[in-house]
């Protein structure tokens, strides 16, 4: 191949990769602007402070759904984060045998399991015996989605901590468990926190598992044993309704949800970079 040809092929390929990079960004930009244009009108102070209005009345907001989503995320994290982090520590530090490869394998399968299946699982395990929809059953389903993400990342982050640091701590006459908590875990912390943030961002928008468990609620509810409103559920209900005002609110809700996820992602990046330097 002569020089001229090679140079042009190079240019062409560079251009193609550039176009693909842009293509990857276009959907997000389109979704964002579309939500803002069509739902932006419904975004006002009331949206964050008021309950949804019944059909026919205009205005109202999704305050209960925003609070409900935060509550679900918190309880799901309270269940999922300790299991994920501690399980990850086990795999990284003690996980040599057959048992550990099974745990890893199950975690990988679980993270590929459709969330609706996890929803049905939580339904049979909680909703049926308790004879009612509830916030906790939804949190449980969300926790199951979080666990494999956090578990595997914690393991990887712990393994990335160099042997020299572990040996340095042991050689000082520090007990192994203290070395693990105060040296290895602390060094891996930024990576683990990032994983937690990403897991939270992932579950914040989950709808399918909540349909079977949390159900949704038009009113305020702070009991974990009652049906609870959640942003994704509210968006779902409102957007398939025939009322224009509800549809506009659904778009506004979707916008808020994306902003929350965007902020969580940005925050996790910030934490990761902060700790790296």
């Amino acid at each position: 191949m002569n020089y001229f040809l090679r140079k042009n092929v190079n240019r062409l390929m560079l251009f193609a990769t550039f176009i693909c990079a842009i293509l990857a960004m276009i959907p997000l930009v389109l979704i964002f602007s579309d939500l803002l244009i069509r739902g932006g009108g419904a975004l006002n102070f009331d949206f964050f402070t008021q309950l949804p209005k019944p059909v026919g009345e205009t205005g109202g907001g999704m305050a209960n759904a925003i609070a409900g989503t935060l509550m679900l995320i918190l309880t799901a994290s309270a269940m999922g984060v300790p299991v994920g982090v501690m399980g990850g520590i086990y795999l990284a530090e003690f996980g040599k045998g057959r048992f550990s490869s099974w745990v890893r394998f199950s975690a990988d399968v679980l993270s590929g399991t459709p969330s609706i299946v996890i929803g049905i699982f939580a339904y049979t395990l909680f909703v049926l015996p308790m004879k009612g929809f509830s916030g906790v059953s939804g949190s449980f389903a969300l926790a199951i989605i979080m666990i494999p993400i956090i578990l595997r990342t914690t393991e990887e982050m712990m393994r990335l901590v160099p042997v020299s640091l572990r040996e340095g701590a042991l050689a000082l006459g520090i007990h192994r468990w203290k070395m693990l908590t105060f040296v290895v875990l602390k060094t891996a912390a930024s990576g683990i926190i990032t994983a937690i943030m990403l897991a939270v961002a992932r579950i914040a928008g989950e709808t399918a598992p909540l349909l079977f468990t949390t159900l949704g609620n038009q009113y305020w509810n702070f009991s974990p044993l009652e049906p609870t409103a959640a942003l994704p559920l509210q968006i779902y209900t409102f957007s398939i309704s025939p009322y224009e005002d509800w549809q506009r609110q659904a778009l506004a809700g979707a916008f808020v949800l994306i902003v929350i996820i965007f902020l969580l992602n940005a925050l996790s990046r910030l934490i990761f970079h902060e700790n790296k330097n």
């Binding site: 040599k96 160099p162 020299s164 640091l165 040996e167 340095g168 701590a169 042991l170 050689a171 000082l172 006459g173 520090i174 007990h175 203290k178 070395m179 105060f182 040296v183 602390k186 060094t187 912390a189």
Partner: protein
């Protein structure tokens, strides 16, 4: 004698890294361990604080005595507080400041008194000849120091837990000549209060800093004796060949 090693054998899986090594180290002297790469120098020093056995496949047999007491009877954690170690590459804890690094061994073993910790840190940093360079920035990260400073920080960290023996596994191999001189001067001062074992590839360094020298070759202790004698008038042919640079 501070340390007595009798018929020490050490393995990694089936691969025997030390064969019947016996030697003794008098109190407050410096022993240099020399020999070609892979001959078992690191394994020897790592047996002395029982870091060897932290590797999965590793095991050892024989007798190692510290102050009349067999180290096999020690709790390894207690033993390592009496036998400190400096590694080839400086390994300050990246999440900790200079001050926190120096006091890590004490803090993680439960010492809380801030005043006491700070005064021990100052004493240790002075012993490690680093105090003047860092006293204004004790709260900056330990990893922000230069390589040579980091290594002295690690020495201070080891000294802070008040050991009696210091094991140094090629402490200067990642340092420039000036930092190396710093560390060597330091060893001269430390030998008054500590028993030191230093692994080195540098013959001049061994000759400069040590009282005794042990020459290992493929897991065997070929020769062990006063440094002056070993370098000027070696008994074994292999020792002579090694120190004159004819192999290794």
């Amino acid at each position: 004698m501070k340390i007595k090693i009798e018929k020490l054998n050490a393995w990694f899986g089936k691969n025997q890294a030390l064969k019947n090594v016996s030697l003794a180290i008098p109190v407050n002297t410096v022993l240099a361990v020399i020999g070609p790469s892979g001959c078992g120098k690191s394994t020897l020093v790592r047996c002395l604080n029982r870091m060897h056995e932290t590797i999965g496949s590793a095991k050892w047999e024989g007798k190692i005595v510290l102050d009349e007491e067999s180290i096999a009877d020690f709790d390894p954690v207690t033993l390592r507080r009496r036998v400190g170690m400096i590694f080839q590459r400086p390994n300050p804890f990246p999440t900790m400041s200079i001050l926190e690094n120096v006091t890590a061994g004490l803090r993680l073993n439960g010492m809380r008194n801030k005043k006491e910790l700070e005064s021990i840190a100052e004493i240790s940093l002075k012993k490690a000849a680093l105090w003047e360079e860092v006293k204004e920035k004790l709260h900056q990260p330990g990893v922000s120091l230069s390589g040579g400073q980091q290594q002295r920080l690690c020495i201070a960290r080891a000294l802070a837990v008040d050991p009696e023996v210091l094991l140094m596994d090629e402490p200067c191999s990642s340092l420039d000549p000036i930092s190396t001189t710093h560390i060597e001067e330091l060893i001269h001062e430390l030998r008054e209060h500590y028993t030191i074992v230093i692994v080195t590839h540098n013959m001049q360094q061994a000759a400069r800093v040590s009282d005794d020298t042990a020459f290992l070759y493929m897991g065997d202790l070929v020769e062990h004796g006063a440094t002056k004698k070993l370098f000027t008038n070696p008994k074994e042919k292999r020792t002579e060949e090694y120190i004159t640079g004819r192999f290794g």
